[in-house]
Amino acid sequence: MCDLGLVDFKYSWQIQHDLFNRVKDGSLHGALVICRHNPVITLGRLAKKNNILAKEEELSSMGVPVYQIERGGDVTYHGPGQITAYPIFNLQYIKKDIHYYLRQLEDVIMGMLNEFGVTGTRYRGYTGVWIKPSEAEKVTQENEHSLCKIASIGIAIKNWITFHGLSINIKKFDLAMFNLIRPCGMNIKVTCLEDIAKQDIEMDLIKKILVQKFKENFKIKAIMEQ
């Protein structure tokens, strides 16, 4: 496990590629990169550029770079108020099934949220983890669109080895940055763990729980910190 701390996206992207090559050549069984990012917007392979709502000059003056990257999904924002995890896993050792892997990532996120008394939910057809406006409210076909997104997933797979991954909104302070984009190309609301759990949450605790959930869900015996 590599905890990179707060880094520019480009640096973590390079680290992912380095680790991917090591998993591919067999010198590493797998890796899990955990970090937070300085503000950045990334576009997935089939993203529409008009899902970035802010003007280029505005992003430039705010110091928010935009990267076109090789993951699936549309546009997303990453910032220091999120935790991002990039599993570099060889699915030949787990299950060669993209659907299964995406559902496992959702389970990792939902398991982590659950530790804070928060119930995350799936929104069929829309990968990621969502929060019901009121946990007591039953989600029906009619009110599905009122779900708020708390975590996003976007992955890439080569030779059945994964990279890119998931991001979970934890802190309130940079939620407004999502106004720069149409998240995932959809008109949706985003939320964060602190808002739902009604408490301040330490990022170090999140990282610890997240690693534990990865171990449980992917049946990993041990994760060495590097």
Binding site: G44, R45, L46, E70, G73, I98, Y100, A156
Partner: protein, 79 residues
């Protein structure tokens, strides 16, 4: 000629979208080179070339939807 077929990608995944061709018709490809990238749900998936040879025909362009089991391209094997 070797067919490049869209393989099973997982449960409930019936089709995918061609998002990027690394090689064009007439170009020489080596076995295991990344040949085509496809996109499904929130994932991109790189399909390697099954053999070395010349890409003779591509049946689906970038942006096209392909069903699992369909032939994406054919490669003329290197003798």
């Amino acid at each position: 000629m070797t067919k490049v077929i869209l393989p099973e990608l997982g449960e409930n995944i019936l089709k995918a979208i061609v998002s990027y061709w690394y090689f064009q018709e007439g170009e020489t490809v080596q076995e295991k080179d990344d040949l085509v990238e496809i996109t499904t749900d929130k994932s991109t998936f790189n399909l390697p070339s099954p053999c070395s040879g010349i890409v003779r025909e591509i049946f689906f362009r970038e942006g096209d939807s392909v069903n699992i089991g369909e032939t994406l391209a054919v490669i003329e094997d290197k003798e």
